[in-house]
Symmetry: C2
Subunit: 138 residues, 2 copies
């Protein structure tokens, strides 16, 4: 299993422990002429539900040497997925899942905080070792 | 010279033909703890001025096999660079430079149009062969 797959599985296990049911893995989004291959690069979008709550989760490992490069792509994906979700399933909330190490370091920078706030990025902070949800940040 | 460098030089020549003076190549942006290596992947941010106008240009080639992947990264970079520019030089306008082929194809999709509109992405459409600015879209 690749490192990215391990993080992916870790988030799924964390959600299951948190009483969520994983409903799509991966979710394929489509909007007219653009079909987004969500599993490109093995970082896939999944969906889950718990009671009346429905979420989609963009899982990121932030394991590359450059957190800022990972963040550029994660932010662009989040905003594009959000546009497509709003067309397909407007009631489903989109979260960007990030490991606690990235949350405690890169995501404390003023750039990351400004970008998260200005673009209303919802975060799901997870512990990839314990396979647990650490924090939801809306 | 790599394919990306050729597109980069092409945009510079297009700006020079259009009476702009290129002032930084590459521009290095810095905001407290985050120093963005703008030349990562050889797609660099440049700055130019013409009379009282000052711009920064994020040059994209869109030559990878996946336009949507290129677009995720381009959009995230644009928004993060904009946050950093607004701190450093709020009067400088940021443009995303895209080749005419990408403009006439991927950028006509409803996803791209929604993303460009919602995120107020300014576009500079260029012809990489003729080395000319085709269109500014604010």
């Amino acid at each position: 299993m690749s490192a990215r797959d391990i993080f992916h599985e870790s988030v799924k296990q964390a959600l299951i422990k948190d009483q969520w049911q994983v409903t799509d893995d991966p979710l394929e989004l489509e909007w007219e002429e653009v079909k987004v291959k969500i599993d490109l690069g093995a970082e896939r979008l999944i969906t889950a539900e718990r009671g009346n709550e429905r979420i989609a989760v963009e899982i990121k490992s932030f394991i590359s040497p450059s957190a800022i490069s990972d963040f550029h792509t994660a932010l662009g994906q989040f905003l594009n997925y959000k546009i497509m979700l709003d067309v397909n399933e407007p009631e489903r909330e989109l979260y960007l899942a990030i490991p606690i190490e990235a949350y405690e370091n890169f995501f404390q920078s003023r750039l990351a905080q400004a970008a998260v706030n200005q673009n209303q990025v919802k975060l799901l902070v997870y512990d990839p070792i314990a396979e647990e949800v650490v924090r939801w940040i809306n």
